[in-house]
């Protein structure tokens, strides 16, 4: 049922927003329709045409709510279920939810709610915040849309690239949140990486031939294709070097690599394509030892020309270690202490390199520092195990 909701809620939301011109109102009506479905479908079964069913309920509810308001009565008459083959209105919805005038947190919540049909509870659970906080975030965002005059449309072509990077940032955030979730979490916790893939795939369908969208989609698929091997049978995190690569979905990896190449042929490079290429290098390597580190290093260099960030430089330093040796890598890493002193992976990486150099006492201290900064239970378990 979650999959049906995800597919249909966004469509319905888009239709309602377009017809009523009011996010909050559309949201209220959509919410009621979904609640009704949740009450009736378990008993009656999922209708053959769930979209049409939801639309009818929404339309009835809208009629009730707006009977008194003359301005909306005309709009109600215009409310039509879009026929298949018509433009999917969800693209407008995605760009609006991800408008730069809305805070990043609110962009994420609004996208998950409106495009994917997440409940407030599901969003709160996914991001480990309270329902009240999410509800308030959503209300504020919708108010901002109404009061600040954020338009409901796909951006102009000369603004598309800039606005698209906002959408991609939101999708990437959703993916990362899902990726970092430990396997030790409650089983009802929704797999956000699946939702992120669905969103990226939808975006690719609605906005074809955008290489950065393809890059992000490939990136997500490459990670998901290897998800099985990330945790062992006891739910503990397994490092990439130790993963059983036979458990990777190589068909999916092949397809995703092809997508990276396809994006590359469009000759419009961008950070998501390069990140995807880096992950592809890892995913295509038959073993840790056979990893093409010089290629990865070159890709990090390319990425750093597009987007400066200490975390990226840290990741590059890891590649450098395998190309130029641990001393060179350590020099790079030490230079990042100012920026990344509070970042657990800085200390964990530093510890790895120090261990490589036989400086075990210092490595231990670095691991301890990393542990202090780590909240995620699976990561903690890994570090605790290393410290013995």
């Amino acid at each position: 049922m979650a999959a049906v909701f995800r597919e249909e809620a966004g469509r319905l939301a888009a239709t309602l927003v377009a017809s009523l011109g009011d996010f909050q109102l559309a949201e209220d009506i959509l919410q009621e329709a979904l609640v009704t479905a949740l009450e009736r479908w378990p008993a009656e079964g999922i209708p053959r045409k769930p979209g049409a069913w939801l639309f009818t309920v929404a339309r009835n509810r809208a009629t009730d709510l707006l009977r008194r308001n003359a301005r909306y009565r005309e709009k109600l008459a215009e409310l039509e279920l879009p026929a298949t083959g018509e433009v999917d209105d969800r693209l407008r919805l995605m760009f609006t939810c991800c408008h730069p005038a809305i805070s990043r947190e609110a962009q994420v919540a609004l996208t998950l709610r409106t495009v994917c049909g997440f409940s407030v509870e599901e969003i709160a659970h996914a991001f480990l915040t309270s329902e009240a906080a999410i509800a308030q975030r959503l209300v504020r965002a919708r108010r901002k849309i109404a009061h600040a005059g954020i338009p409901y449309r796909v951006p102009r072509s000369d603004e598309l690239e800039e606005r698209l990077s906002e959408v991609l940032a939101v999708l990437y955030l959703v993916f990362n949140e899902g990726y970092l979730a430990s396997s030790g979490d409650s089983p009802e916790r929704r797999d956000l990486t699946a939702d992120a893939e669905w969103l990226a795939s939808l975006l690719d369908r609605l906005l074809p031939n955008e290489p950065e969208v393809m890059g992000l989609l490939a990136l997500i698929r490459l990670h998901r294709a290897r998800a099985e091997a990330r945790f062992d049978e006891r739910g503990r995190l397994v490092l990439l070097r130790d993963q059983d690569r036979s458990r990777w979905d190589h068909a999916a990896i092949g397809a995703a690599c092809e997508l990276v190449l396809q994006a590359g042929r469009m000759r419009r490079p961008g950070p998501y394509q390069v990140q995807a290429a880096i992950v592809a290098c890892h995913a295509e390597a038959p073993s840790w030892e056979a990893t093409d580190w010089p290629q990865i290093l070159a890709l990090y260099d390319q990425l750093l020309r597009m987007a400066q960030s200490p975390v990226l430089r840290l990741n590059r330093a890891i590649a450098l270690r395998f190309v130029a040796g641990p001393e060179a890598a350590l020099a790079e890493v030490e230079g990042l202490a100012g920026d990344l002193g509070q970042y657990r992976l800085f200390h964990a990486t530093r510890a790895e390199i120090l261990r490589d150099l036989g400086r075990h006492a210092e490595a231990r201290l670095a691991d301890e520092r990393a542990l202090e900064l780590t909240a995620n239970p699976a990561e903690r378990a890994l570090l605790e195990q290393r410290l013995g």
Partner: protein, 131 residues
């Protein structure tokens, strides 16, 4: 929709207008005139440069007490240097105009509420006069 554009100076964004050499000031003023011309049809009030923050006076009323002080109401190096009022279809248009402004590189865009009449707020809590 009407928006007020407030052109702000932030300390990390380069020298203030007052601190620029005369020929650069002239060049900037010309650029701003060109900008006003380009968006002529969108201005309700093309606005003006405001006196610098040292020329500000703040009046505060607390209960039935008044306090009049020297300076802007918020202390700090960030200052509103000028304003314009535009009437455009939506926020994206206002953003475009703000991006094109050649003066202060920081602009705050605030919607100007269309109506302050209580009746304008409908039963569903949505402004019935929105555009």
């Amino acid at each position: 929709m009407k928006y007020m554009l407030m052109f702000c100076h932030e300390p990390d964004a380069g020298p203030r207008f007052e601190d620029l050499p005369a020929d650069e000031q002239r060049r900037m003023l010309q650029a701003i005139l060109n900008w006003r011309n380009e968006f002529k049809s969108k201005f309700v009030d093309p606005g003006m440069r405001l006196g610098e923050s040292s020329t500000a006076t703040t009046v505060r009323r607390r209960g039935d007490q008044y306090l009049v002080t020297d300076g802007p109401f918020v202390e700090g190096a960030e200052v509103v240097g000028g304003y314009s009022i535009v009437e455009v279809a939506d926020l994206d248009e206002a953003i475009r105009i703000a991006k094109a402004f050649p003066g202060c590189p920081t602009t705050e865009i605030r919607p100007i509420l269309e109506s302050e009449q209580p009746e304008a707020f409908s039963a569903t809590g949505v402004l019935s006069e929105t555009r």
